[in-house]
């Protein structure tokens, strides 16, 4: 997927002005937050200890990622999986289209895979005559809406109202328009069932790779993940190299964290642990299993000051709790991953210079850091990215000059005092005697939405000097 992350400011502005979107977002806003809070409160163990354990599991793997990869690879292969590697999105596309051609596939059913979004896989499949069908209901809605990208990693279409979805279904299915959500769901189920049964290939992501057994763990609620990995004769898993966990016990721990943090469930409806291909006498399951392990920027984070980000288990909690995400929605972020995790990942994966606004698209309120199930210090990572931007000279000219001017001034106490005195007088004049300033020329964006408080009286230095004088007298 081509990144639009350079245009965050413009896109965010558009999203704020979109009345319908604002209504839809307002409806959804508290649902995820409340659901997580209720699930964590209802958990009768120590959730904070669980978060530390989750962090520990992910860190342990990252510390020796090369060897864990080799271990997983060897064990997966022993069970008949073909383990392949892809350096980038283009390579994912070449591998998957190659596999499709090898098996004469003309249709592929897909369960959610963020990496296939990173790679723009659907377009590549279409180009070689393979029809890709998204089967997660939200992803499917996005696909029939002219391939609009998902706006949330768990609920890709949650920015749409039922009326919008009803229009899309009526157009795509050629059936009478329905607005009853269970009926709409049944209609989509029937359409997609046909696809499940006729597809030659299933493509899925992988929530976790289990080194101990060479297995792929897949977590879904709809059951589409099970369909995609059970019905077609070929199953392709596309997942990041960082997704490994050591043992089945570690999966048990992480499964106590993932659904509670994301959707607020105690457990997802389906947790599938898939190992190898259809065995002797098996009546169902794929005969071919390919696991594609993808780098696409991940390896460069290993051992870096951003390594913590590789712990991410894609639960969605950080975006659900982010005031910026809640207000502008996922599309403003311009690439695959929205919210705080996206604001960190997008510049790291697509280049610091290609997502200038994203590290600033946060208030650093640390809500994300508090809810992250694997304790990723997201605000700290955002701060580091901002620092990197400054070091690389990537900030706008005005800002750089302003900062330099301030630094110059701040090192000259007399001048600084004089300047602040002048500024205070100027602001008081702007406020015209009131206690707030309505329009401020140097920060028009700030005062467009709110007033700027006018300074009250003198500067700190003046007051301090006065105190000393009166104290001494």
């Amino acid at each position: 997927m081509r990144s639009q992350a350079m245009y965050f400011k413009v896109r965010a502005g558009d999203k704020l002005a979109d009345r319908l979107l604002q209504q839809n977002l307002a409806k959804a806003r508290s649902k995820f937050v409340d659901a997580r809070a209720a699930a964590v409160a209802a958990y009768d163990g120590d959730f904070e200890a669980l978060r530390s354990a989750g962090q520990g599991i992910r860190d342990r793997v990252l510390e020796n990622l090369d060897l864990w990869l080799e271990t997983f690879e060897e064990r997966a292969r022993a069970r008949g999986a073909e383990v392949l590697y892809a350096r980038d999105g283009e390579e994912i596309c070449r591998l998957v289209t190659g596999i499709a051609q090898r098996h004469g596939v003309t249709k592929a059913v897909k369960s959610k895979s963020m990496l296939s979004e990173e790679a723009g896989l659907n377009a590549a499949l279409t180009a070689v005559g393979v029809q890709p069908v998204e089967t997660d209901l939200g992803e499917y809605i996005q696909q029939i809406d002219d391939n609009e990208p998902p706006s949330h990693i768990l609920a890709p279409a949650f920015h749409k109202s039922r009326e919008q979805v009803a229009d899309l279904f009526a157009r795509a299915h050629g059936k009478p328009r329905k607005t009853d959500i269970p009926e709409m769901t049944r209609e989509a189920r029937e359409v997609l069932r046909e696809h499940f049964l006729s597809a030659g290939m299933g493509i899925s992501g992988g929530n976790f790779l289990i080194a101990e057994t060479g297995s792929v763990a897949l977590v879904t609620n709809e059951g589409n993940g099970r369909m995609v990995t059970t019905l077609p004769d070929v199953h392709v898993v596309i997942t990041g190299i960082e997704k490994i966990v050591p043992r089945l016990e570690d999966l048990a721990t992480l499964m106590r964290l993932l659904p509670r943090s994301g959707t607020g469930q105690d457990i997802s409806n389906y947790v599938s642990v898939l190992t190898g291909v259809k065995g002797e006498g098996d009546r169902d399951g794929p005969s071919h299993l390919y696991v594609i392990l993808v780098d696409n920027g991940r390896a460069s984070l290993v051992g870096s000051e951003f390594q913590d980000m590789l712990r991410c288990i894609r639960c969605g909690a950080c975006m659900n709790h982010c005031p910026v995400y809640q207000t502008v929605g996922g599309h403003a972020y311009g690439w695959v991953y929205p919210g705080p995790m996206g604001a960190v990942l997008t510049p790291l994966f697509t280049g610091l210079g290609n997502a200038l606004d994203l590290p600033h698209a946060a208030t650093l309120c640390n809500q994300c850091g508090v809810v992250c199930p694997v304790r990723i210090p997201l605000p700290e990572l955002l701060r580091r990215l901002r620092q990197r931007q400054v070091e690389a000279g990537l900030r706008p000219r005005g800002e750089r000059i302003g900062m330099r001017a301030w630094a110059w001034l701040a090192r000259r106490p007399r001048l600084y005092r004089l300047a602040t005195r002048l500024v205070v007088r100027y602001l008081n004049w702007l406020a015209e005697g009131a206690d707030r300033i309505r329009v401020m020329g140097v920060a028009p964006e700030w005062t467009a939405e709110r007033d700027f408080p006018a300074p009250q009286g003198r500067t700190f230095h003046e007051l301090y000097a006065q105190r000393r004088r009166t104290g001494e007298e």
Partner: protein, 257 residues
């Protein structure tokens, strides 16, 4: 165990049929027509090299870490857990209800067909479908049910399965795919009825895995599925709808002898 170096890697596998365009792509996960045709230029080696470089891997650290990994893989310790349920059956009942499963209890395996029949009649559901071959020995016909012992196909409306075990902590049933227990039977039909012996209810996922290790050794079945209630979606206006792609309803028949 680990240690698939280049020689143990994909290049030496030799399982590809030659001759198709795709073979070039697939071999070594290498770019089709990529600049360097050899092993060193493969995606696998390059990615692993990047990771090794980032970690500052040396041969000593490799040996040490491999020993650590070998030890970690056989260690059976686990993370923090909620307090154990005193009464596994009660907890399982409560949690499965929270996941929207329904439950009925019978006192013998022979009584299961009657219980299934009762449930289907009460819900006004069809009386034919599929059953796991492992449960084909029960007298379904006498209970007025027409169940074929096979995998499920499109059009099968009822799927009756057993389970490998069940978990009290979350009201989950665990199924393992095999010729006698096909995965589709719990997935394609609109109604899934699952037979759970009370003696197979364990505390949580850790115990379930322990049981699996005891019975399967290192080789897990192809598909292990943890099923907690009917399939669901919240993708339209975050309204929860039961019955997305999998069953609309899950009914548990617990056998408590």
């Amino acid at each position: 165990m680990a240690g698939a170096g280049p020689e143990g890697g994909l290049a030496g596998r030799g399982t590809m049929e030659a001759g198709t365009v795709a073979d070039d792509v697939l071999r070594d996960g290498r770019l089709q027509g990529g600049a360097s045709g050899g092993w060193a230029g493969s995606a696998r080696e390059q990615i692993l090299e990047r990771v090794r470089g980032a970690l500052g891997r040396t041969s000593e650290s490799r040996a040490r870490a491999l020993a650590d990994i070998a030890a970690a893989l056989v260690d059976r310790g686990h993370g923090p857990r909620p307090p154990a349920a005193a009464d596994l059956v009660e907890r399982f009942k409560r949690e499965s209800a929270r996941m929207s499963s329904t439950l009925d209890t019978v006192t013998s395996l022979q009584a299961v067909p009657e219980a299934v029949s009762r449930y289907l009649a009460a819900q006004g559901l069809p009386r034919s479908g599929v059953v796991w071959p492992s449960l084909a020995g029960l007298d379904w016909a006498r209970a007025g049910l027409t169940l074929e012992a096979r995998e499920a196909r499109e059009g099968d409306l009822v799927g009756v399965t057993g389970c490998f075990c069940a978990m009290a902590e979350t009201g989950t049933v665990m199924t393992c795919s095999a010729p006698e227990s096909p995965a589709t039977a719990s997935l394609l039909p609109e109604t899934h009825v699952v037979v759970v012996p009370a003696t197979r209810i364990v505390q949580g996922m850790e115990e379930a895995w322990q049981l699996a290790r005891e019975e399967y050794g290192m080789a897990l079945p192809r598909a292990v599925n943890f099923i907690s209630g009917p399939s669901r979606t919240g993708d339209i206006e975050m309204n929860i709808v039961l019955g997305a792609h999998g069953p609309y309803r899950v009914h548990i028949v617990m056998v408590r002898e």
